[in-house]
């Protein structure tokens, strides 16, 4: 029997590194790690963890594709590919009916339109400003001494969401602190934060034609309230993947690795 083919996809984001290992079209191992340290070293460490979990070594990997902000700094990658095609590929693999991907990560937000054939036909990103990314939730969680995971359920208890007027995350953080000092209810502030990010996301995503089915990916897709808020603004249903939504780009990269290997 021929040895099974192993492909890896590595998504080196600004805040987290994600790797997916695939064998014969299914995910056999993955790893997500916060980036702290020299990029090349982080990349190798994250891959090593995922490989050892699958009982594999680097020598057994047939082909690797890197993507994401730090994709040029992944030493073991055979090639690097932009984030949009990887997101499109990964999302289509998970949901064959998907036409739009909204990826909301720590630093970047991307909305991608996909053709029937799976090609990227249009996209928009948050570009030069971090408003409408996950980082704002982190800043708020830190400032209010809350856990990222508890923000959505706290916000659900609000009856009178606060209005956050600053778009800039850094100013909005100050605004939130002022509200705390003025005695606003924590749940109302947190609800206001969700509304403010959802509004910004809707503006970024709305710039491309939103076609259903719409899938939300990236770390922020774990925030159910945000996904619902965005769905309300865009007036569409939004689905989220069953796998960790942070892994969709890396999954796409692994699938592209498989395609490329076949064609070489």
């Amino acid at each position: 029997m021929a040895k099974p083919m192993i492909f890896t996809g590595f998504d080196f984001g600004t805040l987290a590194a994600k790797v997916v290992i695939m064998q014969e079209g299914s995910i056999i191992s993955s790893e997500i790690s916060k980036i702290k340290g020299i990029p090349e070293q982080v990349a190798s460490d994250v891959l090593d963890k995922a490989l050892s979990r699958a009982g594999l070594s680097l020598g057994e990997v047939n082909y690797s594709v890197s993507t994401g902000w730090g994709r040029k700094r992944v030493p073991f990658a055979n090639i690097d590919i932009g984030e949009m095609p990887c997101l499109a590929k990964g999302a289509r693999f998970l949901f064959p009916s998907v036409m739009t991907v909204i990826d909301v990560g720590g630093h970047s937000t991307r909305a991608v339109s996909i053709s029937e054939a799976g090609r990227v036909t249009d996209y928009n990103t948050n570009d030069k400003c971090a408003a409408g990314t996950g980082r704002f939730f982190e800043l708020v969680a830190d400032a209010l001494e809350l856990k990222l995971e508890e923000l959505a359920s706290l916000a659900d208890r609000s009856k009178d969401p606060a209005k956050i007027s600053s778009q800039c995350c850094v100013f909005a953080e100050s605004e939130v602190i002022t509200m705390v000092n003025e005695g606003r209810e924590l749940v109302d502030i947190v609800a206001g934060v969700h509304d403010s990010v959802a509004r910004r996301l809707a503006a970024i995503a709305g710039a491309i034609g939103i076609k259903e089915d719409v899938v939300m990916t990236g770390g922020c897709a774990k925030n159910r309230r945000l996904a619902e808020g965005l769905a309300n603004h865009l007036k569409v249903d939004i689905i989220t993947p069953a796998i960790d939504p942070q892994l969709v780009g890396a999954t796409g990269a692994a699938l592209i690795a498989q395609d490329r290997y076949g064609s070489t």
């Binding site: 990029p39 971090a130 800039c168 850094v170 100013f171 000092n181």
Partner: protein, 262 residues
């Protein structure tokens, strides 16, 4: 004649007391949760220093972000007018005032009487404001007052390419991970700050002389970079650059009192 000016900004509050046209007391504090509290605290201190009480103040003008909520003020005037007025009174040749405060940046053009001619302001994005420096100082784990001197000691500044404070934070973190010299990173932060302020200055144009006010004027690194980019040297102020708005407010108080008594 005893008059007072009170400037309650987003990060600091200043009070200035004048007697017969000369400054007799001046105080600066970090803001309290509420503008009313900040104003009262800073004015209490300034009055105490001068051996006066609120009853002695004949007229008080408030300015700054919290200016409408100052209980003891007779009137409030925008900080743009106050900074222009104060700076031109301190250095009569000044025609352009660059005020870089905690939460905004303004470039103010005034005439020979300190009257506002034109201005441009950024208060939407933290880039080019004191908040950016504060954020970066936290990332580098140094005091905000150390960024200036640290940066000046660098011979090989790093490049910070992102305007957004959040992205600049990541850039700075990567430099830290790569073991770059903290002085070189501080220099990069100061330079990026100066470039951002400069882009605002360009929109309204420079008429000499210029001066720099607000808390960021105390960052020698940013000031030097800004002077280099603008190719002008900034006039030195004889007072704490953070107190210029409150001084301007005092001068307006003097005018308004004069008009009232006439």
């Amino acid at each position: 004649m005893i008059i007072a000016g009170c400037d309650v900004g987003s990060l600091s509050a200043e009070a200035v007391i004048m007697r017969d046209g000369a400054i007799i007391s001046s105080e600066i504090i970090r803001v309290r949760p509420r503008p009313e509290q900040s104003a009262t605290d800073v004015m209490d201190k300034a009055l105490e220093k001068a051996g006066l009480t609120y009853k002695n103040i004949e007229y008080c003008v408030s300015t700054g972000y919290g200016r409408e909520r100052i209980p003891f003020a007779d009137n409030n005037i925008s900080e743009i007018s106050c900074h222009g007025k104060g700076a031109q009174w301190l250095v009569p040749s000044v025609r352009t005032v660059i005020d870089v405060g905690g939460q905004d940046c303004k470039v103010i053009r005034v005439d020979e009487n300190g009257k506002l001619v034109n201005f441009v302001m950024n208060d939407k994005c933290a880039a080019g404001t004191g908040r950016f420096l504060e954020f970066m100082a936290k990332v580098l784990d140094v005091g905000i007052e150390d960024l200036g001197p640290q940066g000046l000691s660098s011979l090989n500044s790093v490049a910070i390419t992102n305007m957004c404070s959040i992205y600049a934070e990541t850039e700075v973190l990567h430099y830290v991970y790569e073991g770059k010299n903290p002085a070189d990173i501080a220099a990069g932060i100061n330079r990026s700050m100066a470039e951002r302020v400069n882009s605002l200055v360009k929109r309204v144009g420079v008429e000499e002389d210029i001066c720099i006010t607000g808390g960021v004027a105390k960052n020698t690194g940013v000031v030097k970079n800004l002077e280099e980019t603008l190719q002008v040297s900034a006039q030195k102020l004889p007072v704490d650059p953070q107190s210029v708005g409150a001084i301007g407010a005092c001068l307006f108080a003097k005018e308004e009192l004069g008009n009232r008594d006439r």
